[in-house]
Amino acid sequence: MSSAPSGAREPEPGLLSAVRAGAPEAVDAWFRAEHPEVYRLCFGFLAHRADAEDVAQEAMVQLLDRLGEWDGVRSYRAWRTTLVLNRCRDRLRRVERRRKHEDSAAGERRERVASDPAAALERAEVEAALLAGLEALPPREREAFVLRDLEGLETSEVARMLAIGESSVRSLVTLARQRLRELLRVRLAPEERP
């Protein structure tokens, strides 16, 4: 049983067939449904908003291009998540060294129009705390935690995606949870909720 069902379900097979055939309405519907999930995954794996935005857009294009390669036997969600994970790993490898020497603040200053400044501020604080937690995790722990606890995948699925044993997944997730607890329990007041 998943510890945190993310609400994501397999898309309808009819929709995927239509997307494969290139029907514009189907592509539009598929994009609107998929992009938020892909973005969240990128945000989780990369722990960086601007990079997540870029990679999510690239991943969506790549998913669309390679949808024909999906065999339909394997879970679409697992196929998609693996592709996104690989894309994020590529990005991490490229920017890991560079980011240490750069002021990443420039990428963070993408302004958004907020209808409610107080709500926007609260959202920004929540996002900052989420980001701080994810950034504190080593990449492997972060991947396992995002897939298991945030995406809500089964341990066996996570093990397949990360190409490691189930016990390793449990170890990584446990370590990540402990690290997050130490980091965030002080930051989160008992009554504070996102």
Partner: protein
């Protein structure tokens, strides 16, 4: 001395007991984790679900990958055929060079007016006037006296 030995034995026994203990199982389900950890992870989950997703535009350029590819290839072939056809049509002219009569026919000259002192020609937008001074004939001069 006896007291120190007893202490050492107790420590050794405790260590042996500790080594025989199995480590606690790793918490797979969140419900198995302690309350503090579970609270932090649930907070992360909720923040994750409510994460603001930036707007993105569907890649309509690639909306129909197969059809778009075919269309692109067809356009390329069409353009190539057009270039070939134009080249084939221009090749004989280029090899022969322009013929003199073509220049004449290309820019027809029309005679607009002919007079003793004036010839007016027109070639396209250009109008050419050739003027010559009138010949002086004293007999034709009018009599200043009017007679």
């Amino acid at each position: 001395v006896n007291g120190e030995r007893d202490d050492a034995e107790r420590v050794r026994d405790l260590r042996e007991l500790y080594e025989r203990l199995a480590p606690p199982p790793l918490a797979d389900e969140l419900a198995e984790a302690d309350a503090e950890t579970a609270r932090v992870v649930r907070w992360m989950q909720q923040a994750w679900r409510e994460l603001e997703v930036p707007r993105a535009v569907p890649p309509m350029r690639r909306a129909a990958p197969v059809r778009a590819g075919l269309a692109r290839r067809a356009l390329t072939w069409l353009a190539a055929a057009g270039v070939l056809a134009a080249g084939a049509a221009l090749l004989p002219r280029a090899s022969k060079g322009p013929r003199p009569e073509e220049h004449v026919s290309a820019a027809p000259i029309a005679i607009e007016e002919i007079r003793a002192d004036r010839l007016e020609l027109r070639a396209g937008p250009v109008r050419l006037l050739l003027l010559s001074p009138p010949k002086h004939d004293p007999t034709s001069e009018p009599d200043p006296t009017g007679g």
